[in-house]
């Protein structure tokens, strides 16, 4: 296929990226040598997110049927499967938008099953939506300003009482700096003052990710961030993801139907089918797994 060369090229990039990341996380803690760091490092790669035997039914439909998997820190883990396999529902269960009928979700060693979305977000796990959910009548700036956690001014009294408000104003000014940086980073600063509802599909996707990043997450759940995004833009987004993974140690769980993206960017792939985990493993192995081919990929790829 004509894309072969690209594939190898990106694969290499991923390889390098993941080794360097692996280095940071497991082998040498580099110059940081506090007790805690060392203790953390001695366990090989932490597992921030683990999902155990999740089940979710809607009326008669069992959308998620006993799903278990783990996500290792500093990786991009792919979650794939046919339409209706239960991927988005799994996301919703993890992020607290839905409550499972049974099963547990553990994040950073804590059982977060059935917690509210905001509690989970505040613990450092933030999600994006399959269909971008911008806040349409707020400007792009407002959209981003909203995101940071624990803002002082979210307390009513601080926002109102004359003396206290100056601390709020100060913090707002700081946040504003970060927001503009983020906008520049995602190259949407030229539309900063536009209402988000007027953005094009791709810009919405970018806004969605930028907003999630403004919360300073440890783990990002990305639901089809590339769907409907034109190929040129898609590459840029992937670059960002690796940037953040390598430089800031973020972990990603990624749902995507574009097999090229999955194969080229994930270290680990989980395949769901009819609400269950069908297979799990390295991209290469998944690609050649007969069951997966049968259920999902089809012969022709």
């Amino acid at each position: 296929m004509s894309d072969a060369s690209d594939e190898t090229h990106i694969d290499e990039a991923v390889e390098t990226a993941s080794t360097s990341q692996g280095g940071t996380a497991t082998v040498e803690p580099e110059s940081r040598d506090s007790e805690v760091e060392r203790a953390a490092a001695s366990t090989p790669r932490t597992v921030p997110l683990s999902v155990d035997n999740l089940r979710k039914t809607f009326g008669g439909i069992t959308a998620v049927d006993g799903v278990s998997f783990t996500v290792e820190s500093g990786t991009v883990t792919g979650l794939i499967g046919p339409n209706g396999a239960g991927k988005s529902t799994t996301f919703n269960l993890i992020a607290g938008a839905l409550e499972p009928n049974s099963g547990t979700v553990t994040f950073n060693g804590e059982d977060i099953t059935g917690r509210r979305p905001d509690e989970i977000a505040n613990k450092g796990m933030v999600r994006t939506f399959q269909i971008a959910r911008e806040l349409p009548e707020m400007t792009v700036l407002e959209n981003l300003m909203l995101a940071p956690k624990h803002q002082l001014g979210e307390d009513l009294w601080r926002s109102v009482v004359p003396g206290a408000r100056s601390t709020v104003v100060e913090q707002e000014a700081e946040l504003r700096e970060r927001v503009w940086e983020m906008l520049e980073f995602f190259e949407i600063d030229h539309i900063a003052e536009q209402e988000a509802g007027t953005l094009s599909g791709g810009q919405r996707k970018l806004l969605e990710m930028a907003r999630a990043l403004m919360t300073d997450p440890d783990l990002l759940l990305l639901d089809e961030p590339m769907a409907g995004v034109n190929p040129t833009l898609e590459e840029k987004i992937l670059d960002r993801i690796h940037d953040l993974r390598v430089n800031e140690g973020l972990t990603f769980l990624l749902v995507e139907h574009d097999m090229d993206v999955i194969m080229e960017n994930c270290e680990h792939v989980i395949v769901m089918h009819q609400g269950k985990v069908l297979a799990e493993g390295e991209p290469e192995a998944i690609k050649n797994n007969d069951q997966v081919i049968d259920a999902y990929l089809g012969e022709d790829i």
Partner: protein, 460 residues
Amino acid sequence: MSDTNSDAGADGPLGGLFDGLSRRSSDLLLVFGALFAIYALFTIFVFGQGINSVVSTLRFLTFLILVYGMLALALNLHWGYTGLFNIGVAGFMAVGVYTMAMLSGDPAGSPPGLGLPVPIGIIGGMVAAALVGLVAALPALRLKADYLAIVTLGLSEIIRLTYNSEAFNQWIQGATSTITSRVGFLPDGGAGTGAGSGIQVPSPAGPVRTLFFEGGRAGNPTPLGDAVFAVTDPIGIQQNVVVEWAYVLVLAVVLLGFYWLLSRIGNSPFGRVLKSIREDELVASSLGKHVEIFKVKVFMLGCALMGLAGILWQGSFGFVSPNDFMPVVTFYIFVAVIIGGSGSNTGSIIGSILFVGLLFEGPRRALGALGNRVDFGRAPNSFGDAVAPILSGDITPFFAYAVANRSALVFVLLGTVLIIIIQTRPDGALGGRNEPAAAVDLSTRPEKQPTTATDGGENQ
């Protein structure tokens, strides 16, 4: 529509108060422009009836504008900012006023009150309205907009019917008296609601009155009263009108307070979360905002303000009855918010001016003025008798009938103008302005070179 603050440079120590100076001054211009236009219109209606009529008409107009303004601001917090479709405003007002009346009412009155000082009554009324808001909010906030609307409307009717009920009156009187008989400083009789007869409210305008008259009764002015009347009497302005203007000025100050408070809330991270809840709750909560807490806070705060506005409005007549809290009151407030443009505090005030001036009082006065100036003779008894002569070319009976029945036509006009406004200016008088929710001017960019695409060529 980003008519965001054009003026930068305002995050100084007084930030928030003076940011967007030019916007603020243009707002001020708008508000006073609208106000004076309405004043001029109404002066025409009563022109020729002497200065007292003019001053008194303008007072009534201003009074209505101010109380509607307060309520519109409070509702705007619920609906404009947070998207909580509360159409039970009348009910929350009722709770405020009734609680205040029961706390501060005369223990010897019928129904009896607890005789506490008026300020305590006012605070109690606000707290009670907030608590009823809380009780309503906890379950109701789970509902979708339309359902929440009907639930709040139903609740406001339940509140009204409860205050109207003799059974409740007796029950609450009994219940409160068992409590108060054990508390030394409270009168033993408890407090009642007066059921369908309504209840006396110690008017919040009373203290203003006592500034001018000893004991609040006309005829024996205080020194201040004397001084003021010395000026106004010769011009021909009734003393009562002067005193009522003084109360209107107090209301104006309260309205400014509302505006200040709500603008601060609007221009803050708190307000930003409210806006995001309005836009998409799930997004807000996925970004770590505890949506329900915010909703409950806002619901309670808004209800407290509605309670206060109710006290200052209905309470100032010295009396309320359950009939004063029919759902139509809520609709009027909604109309004020909408024609001003929901989501904007300035819009709420302008909306109140336009609503009171053009919709609520305007048609009534215009038709009244017409009726006063032209004599159409005795009005026919029925529409049939009014229309029949038209066939033979005589339209005077019809006009006479129309003027005699103008109270109906006023509402027809109100409805029609409302339809026209909503058809032609769906986003309100200010055209859907968006007041940015932040404590600082967001468009101020940090000192950096404007990015040109760094790594990937221009996007798309």
